[in-house]
């Protein structure tokens, strides 16, 4: 993985810690940006291009958990790593339940941090890939006509052409023609693949992206 192209954001209200962490990640070959307050982070334009976020848990006005929840609403593919000075159990459970990738205690060892970042980037890559896949499928689906979409849903639910024709009130031949169109537009090579695609389209939450 070419990590230099990845965008890692660090949010911590202590400027000295922020500088140190940024330097550390830079020295490990990542490209890191530091933000001393969450508002400034959210104000940047290309939030969807952020590959990983490292956030301090205890900050004034908006703490790490609130940052993570705000991010989760819109950019589910962006993993969040928490850093904290307090290592109490309730906080860590809270963080993990909310969907954090990892929860590290300050002072954080470089190796632990780098490993966490690498895991996060891997997750991010996976999620991005999934998203792209879904996006492609979605575009293809949108490309279908209304009739074709109806046929599509009929086919994947396992109904025979005869039955679909009866449902939609057309002839079986028409259905067969639509089916071929669907297969072609969806670029599915078999019925099984089509069903697979349909599953993927349905499970939007898995990919963690807001439905467009």
């Amino acid at each position: 993985m070419d990590t230099s192209s990845k965008n890692i954001c660090i949010i911590d209200d202590d400027p000295a810690v922020l500088r140190a962490l940024t330097r550390l990640l830079d020295s490990a070959g990542f490209s890191a940006n530091g933000f001393d307050c969450p508002q400034r982070f959210f104000a940047q334009t290309s939030l969807e291009a952020v590959n990983c976020v490292i956030v301090d848990f205890a900050m004034p006005f908006m703490n790490g958990l609130q940052v993570q929840q705000t991010l989760y609403e819109s950019f589910r593919h962006c993993p969040v790593i928490f850093l904290t000075g307090r290592a109490d159990i309730s906080t860590s459970v809270q963080a993990m339940k909310a969907g954090a990738i990892d929860f590290l205690v300050k002072p954080v060892d470089a190796d632990a941090l780098i490993k966490a970042v690498q895991d996060a980037l891997a997750y991010n890559t996976t999620m991005l890939a999934r998203y792209r896949e879904w996006d492609t499928l979605n575009k293809r689906f949108i490309n279908l006509t209304r009739r074709e979409q109806q046929v599509f849903s009929g086919v994947i639910s396992g109904r025979l052409n005869k039955q679909i024709a009866a449902d939609l009130g057309t002839s079986e031949k028409t259905i067969k023609a639509h089916r071929a169109q669907v297969m072609e537009k969806m670029a599915a090579s078999s019925l099984a693949e089509l069903v697979h695609f349909a599953d993927k389209l349905r499970n939007r939450n898995e990919i963690g992206t807001k439905v467009q």
Binding site: L24, P60, K106
Partner: protein, 590 residues
């Protein structure tokens, strides 16, 4: 038994109760003394005189009465009767006359004793007290002989008929009676009354070192030598005679001052006896004039001297006692004061320790927050160092970056050190150190200490610190303790608030140039009006944990700094604590 005998029997019963062996013994003693005294008195009489120079029997009676309880007097006086008769009758004195003499003696003794006992509430006169001595003198040496003389001389005139003038005889009798009382009664009562003996001699005997014994010997020797010369030596002419008499006075004064009433009375007795002997034998400087005049001069001299010396001795003793009492009460006061001082010091010490303990406990509560504070510099130091290591492993020269990293490490280390130093200062017990401090500075330090705690509780702090605030003279650590306490209280008060209502405001301003006011305002639940003074009392708390000592200690710290701490509820909810401290006065340079 006929009923008429009943009262008689009753009387006999009580009489037998009263007639214990001891009492009979006393009575017999008195009788004997009276008998001997009468003979002595007769020996003291000049041939030409009707009235003796010195009449001891009256003194004996008076002494006996003063030494015993009034319930016994009847027995003693009764015992004196046979003694009197036994002494007088063989001298061919008619019975009635002797009886009258007895009656006058008894009267004198009774009047004197009665008056003295009544006025002194039943006690024997103490010759080291001015009041007692005065009563004794007036009752025993003036009033009693005055009245008794009438009886005596009246009887004499009526029964024997005498060619001498009534008033002259009366005067002789008065002077003689007075002199006897003055000379003899003090000596006898002091010698025979154990309490008096203790009172009078205790003070002096305890101080009887060998040196003082020598002094006493010299004194007595001197007096007696002078008297021997004056009264028993060859007769001188008139001027020397008065001079010699006067030389006795200094000796008596010396004795009174140095040895007290007991010895002085003995000395006066000795002088009197010597003088009377001298006159009887016709010796001494007094014999230059007629015997009657001798006696008169002698008696008057002795009376005046004795009265003065008695009064003076009593006064000296009283003064000594007063001084002694004052000194002992002063000593007592001093020890009480010392004890009080020791206890106050102890209390102050305890309060100091309590303040320290309270501070430590407060910091203990903050320990999580402080640990968090220390984590920040530690994190940046670690990450910086590890970044530097990785950079060094990479190719290329990263000199600038590495120097930046190292500079940061140093700065962060100092930051950690500052936190630890601040903590250490607060934890130290240390003595109170007053110095000029900037209160804004202290507030910022305290907020930094509380920083993590505030974050954890989502409390927002807003400060409005006046720009050019005058410095105050205070102990840094203690003022930090007060502020920390107020802030922690404010945080606790707001713990139940909605996140938008968790605002802590701290403001400082100068009040009329002489004081600085710090206000800590929260939006919590406020203080109950009834409790607005109670919260500053020890062991008062509305929290579920803690001792309730925080505000009490804060108040004591603030008053030690001559400041004020009060609280007021806010209109919009919550409470504000106002801490007022006096401005430090700059010492003039010259």
């Amino acid at each position: 038994m006929p009923p008429a005998f009943q009262p008689a029997l009753a009387f006999l019963d009580t009489a037998s109760q009263r007639l214990s062996f001891q009492r009979i013994g006393h009575a017999l003693l008195v009788a004997l003394a009276y008998f001997l005294a009468t003979h002595l008195g007769l020996a003291f009489a000049l041939q030409t005189q009707q009235v003796s120079t010195l009449w001891p029997p009256n003194a004996v009676l008076l002494a006996a009465l003063l030494l015993t309880r009034p319930s016994q007097w009847w027995l003693l006086l009764l015992a004196a009767l046979p003694a009197h008769l036994l002494a007088q009758l063989p001298r061919d004195v008619p019975f009635v006359h002797a009886l009258c003499g007895y009656i006058s003696s008894v009267a004198e003794a009774l009047i004197a004793a009665g008056l003295i006992k009544t006025l002194l509430k039943g006690r024997c006169p103490r010759f080291d007290a001015l009041f007692d001595a005065s009563i004794f003198l007036v009752a025993g040496a003036v009033i009693a002989p005055f009245i008794a003389s009438f009886i005596d001389i009246g009887a004499l005139k009526l029964l024997r008929g005498s060619d001498e003038h009534f008033w002259m005889l009366w005067r002789q009798r008065l002077i003689s009676g007075s002199l006897s009382t003055l000379i003899l009664v003090p000596v006898v009562t002091i010698s025979l009354s154990k309490p008096l003996r203790l009172i009078v001699f205790r003070h002096w005997i305890n101080a009887l070192t060998p040196l003082r014994l020598v002094e006493l010997a010299v004194l007595s020797g001197g007096v007696l030598a002078v008297c021997a010369v004056a009264f028993l030596g060859p007769p001188f002419n008139d001027e020397t005679h008065s001079l010699l008499l006067c030389t006795v006075l200094p000796f008596l004064l010396w004795c009174a001052v140095r040895f007290g009433p007991g010895f002085v009375n003995y000395l006066i007795l000795c002088i009197t006896l010597l003088a009377i002997c001298g006159v009887q034998l016709g010796l001494g400087s007094l014999s230059v004039v007629s015997p009657a005049k001798n006696v008169l001069i002698l008696q008057l001299f002795l009376i005046v001297t004795t009265i003065s010396i008695l009064l003076m001795t009593a006064m000296i003793c009283e003064r000594r006692r007063a001084v002694h009492d004052a000194r002992s009460s002063e000593a007592q006061l001093r020890t009480s004061l010392q004890e009080l001082r020791a206890e106050t010091a102890q209390v102050l010490q305890l309060r100091h320790e309590l303040t320290h303990l309270s501070r430590v406990a407060m910091l203990g509560e903050l320990s999580g927050a402080v640990a968090h504070e220390l984590n920040q510099p530690l994190t940046s130091i670690l990450s910086n160092a590890q970044a530097a290591l990785r950079l060094l492993n990479r190719e290329g020269v990263h000199k600038n970056e590495i120097s930046e990293i190292l500079a940061d490490i140093v700065a962060e280390d100092k930051r950690a050190d500052a936190i630890i130093t601040r903590l250490r200062t607060l934890l130290r017990k240390g003595e109170v150190q007053l110095q000029q401090v900037d209160i804004n500075n202290i507030i910022q330090e305290v907020i930094a200490l509380e920083h993590s705690d505030l974050l954890a509780r989502n409390i927002v702090v807003s400060t409005q610190l006046a720009a050019s605030l005058p410095a105050i003279c205070a102990d840094r650590v203690q003022i930090q303790q007060v502020l920390l306490n107020l802030i922690i209280n404010a945080n606790d008060a707001m713990s139940g608030n909605a996140p938008s209502e968790r605002l802590l405001e701290i403001t400082t301003r100068a009040l009329d140039g002489a004081r600085v006011e710090i206000a800590v305002r929260d939006r919590g639940h406020g203080i109950n009006e009834r409790d607005s003074e109670k919260i500053f009392q020890a062991f008062f708390t509305s929290k579920t944990h803690g001792l309730g000592l925080g505000l009490a200690i804060c108040r004591s710290i603030v008053s030690a700094h001559k400041g004020e701490l009060r609280v007021r509820n806010n209109k919009r909810g919550g409470a504000t604590f106002y801490l007022t401290l006096p401005v430090a006065h700059l010492e003039p340079m010259f």
